[in-house]
């Protein structure tokens, strides 16, 4: 297990959000082995005060991505932020990122200015207030910051979004997904709607974790796992905790599932779950609202969504605390109406 110290607030900005990275050194080692051969020296190009020597080239869901950096020390942490099921590839990348690190006053002490090197793992890189990170995609700056965690999370977020848009193998719908008794429960929704919290509650209550970010639908409307680490917002503070489903006592789904229940919901303080039935058409609209590539390929997306809702019960309601929801949703999923929802 790798523990990252909370970075100091810099210039009055927010604290590092990565309180506890639970991927552990074991997972980093696994990824390191998988990617070791492709973390390669690149043609040198001058950028800042270091040259871009190292790159990670991978493919996820059929979309090849390249990330180049001038700081080899951050590669292990970068690997930790790749999308699930990322694999090395030699295909020409469809998206090129550069992650540049510049420092104006690097400490000569390898432990960094904070000292205490003996307590840090080899993958740990001491924070240095004079390090600046710039993330670019296609030559356009996406983010410039002193916070390595922030830039890695921004990279992860953008990579995910690009894959979701460019993927031809599946249709990415922004949604939380769990498996329950052989069917999927889909929770479409925007960031901040509370779906990760709800997914975590469902996993703790016995559902199988599929994703807290995307429902990846195949052309038959089945959901495939996109089992990234859950990103759970810590109450009342602008921090997120990354954790795996087994940290919640749950398991990760493997097989694709047909959709049994679509719960269109968002957290509202004090709300009671009073669902109204959605017609298949309204369920499709709710999914369209969260489909990343709907504008790029509407025809195939509509066909996929039609399949996805064809045997699903769709409900809509605000909800209260996530801890109250598993029993309610499991009961709805178990007590489904016949596939013809009118009867």
């Amino acid at each position: 297990m790798v523990s990252h110290p909370v970075s100091k607030v810099l210039g009055g900005q927010r604290q590092s959000r990565d309180l506890l990275s639970r991927t552990g050194s074991a997972q980093n080692d696994l990824r390191g082995k998988a990617f070791g051969g492709t973390v390669r020296a690149n043609h040198e190009s001058r950028s800042g005060n270091r040259s871009l020597r190292d790159s990670v080239v991978f493919s996820a869901w059929g979309v090849p991505i390249s990330i180049r950096t001038n700081d080899a020390e951050i590669i292990p942490r970068l690997l930790d932020h790749l999308p699930p099921d990322a694999k090395p590839t030699s295909a020409a990348p469809k998206r090129l990122y550069t992650l540049l690190m510049a420092t104006t006053n690097r400490s000569s002490d390898p432990a960094g200015p904070s000292g205490g090197a003996a307590s840090l793992s080899e993958t740990e890189r001491p924070a240095n207030a004079n390090d600046t990170y710039e993330l670019k995609a296609g030559g356009v700056t996406l983010l410039k910051t002193n916070d390595l965690t922030e830039v890695l999370e921004a990279l992860e977020s953008d990579v995910q979004l690009q894959i979701a848009d460019m993927c031809e193998q599946g249709l990415f719908v922004h949604a939380g997904v769990v498996g329950w008794r052989g069917r999927a429960i889909l929770i479409p929704g925007l960031s901040g709607s509370g779906k990760t919290t709800l997914v975590a509650a469902l996993v703790k209550a016995g559902a199988t974790y599929y994703s807290d970010e995307y429902a990846v639908l195949d052309q038959d409307g089945r959901v495939h796992p996109y089992a990234r680490r859950l990103s759970i917002r810590v109450a009342h503070v602008s921090l997120r905790m990354r954790c795996r489903p087994d940290d919640l006592g749950g398991t990760r789904g493997v097989d694709p599932l047909s959709v049994g229940l679509i719960a269109v919901t968002r957290y509202r303080f004090g709300a009671n779950w009073r669902p109204r039935l959605l017609s298949p058409g309204r369920a499709v609209l709710a999914l369209i609202d969260n489909t990343v590539s709907i504008r790029r390929r509407p025809q195939s997306a509509l066909a996929t969504l039609r399949c996805a809702v064809s045997k699903a019960l769709a409900l809509e309601s605000a909800r209260g605390e996530a801890s109250e929801m598993p029993e309610l949703l499991f009961r709805q999923a178990d007590d489904q109406r016949p596939s013809n929802w009118l009867t």
Partner: protein
């Protein structure tokens, strides 16, 4: 008196038929519409050959209890959604019932499909990630 023969628009539209409803995706403005069975049937019968009364007769044959007034209301809605080849202007006295009575007619004809149409603006890539969609109508 001008006879209105509505024509359904066909260009830049992707259709997906559900068991009862019809999803229409308009690529010209990136909006997705869900048409109830009544609205879908009215739209399908907009072939440039039928008047509102003719469409009403056809719907009765299909088992949809929509009178001429309801057809006019649906045509007006479809026109506003830009799903007709040309905008239509409601003739005077086309709709005489109150709004409440019209809603009752819609419910009676549509059963559980109490809403004739629902529309959503399709999200951009960035917005699909951050959310914030608005259901229009």
């Amino acid at each position: 008196m001008t006879v209105v023969l509505p024509v359904a628009r066909t260009e830049n539209l992707h259709l997906e038929q559900l068991p009862d409803e019809l999803i229409v995706y308009d690529t010209a403005c990136n909006k997705a519409h869900c048409l109830s069975p009544t609205a879908a049937s009215v739209w399908r019968n907009c072939d440039g050959q039928k008047t509102a009364e003719d469409i009403s007769v056809q719907l009765q044959k299909e088992g949809i209890g929509a009178d001429k007034e309801m057809v006019w209301m649906t045509l007006h809605r479809l026109s506003k959604l830009n799903l007709l080849a040309e905008k239509i202007v409601l003739p005077q006295n086309a709709i005489l019932s109150s709004r409440r009575d019209l809603m009752k007619k819609v419910a009676a004809a549509g059963g559980v499909f109490v809403v004739l149409t629902a529309t959503i603006a399709a999200p951009t890539v960035a917005r699909a990630s951050s959310g914030g969609g608005v259901l229009i109508g």
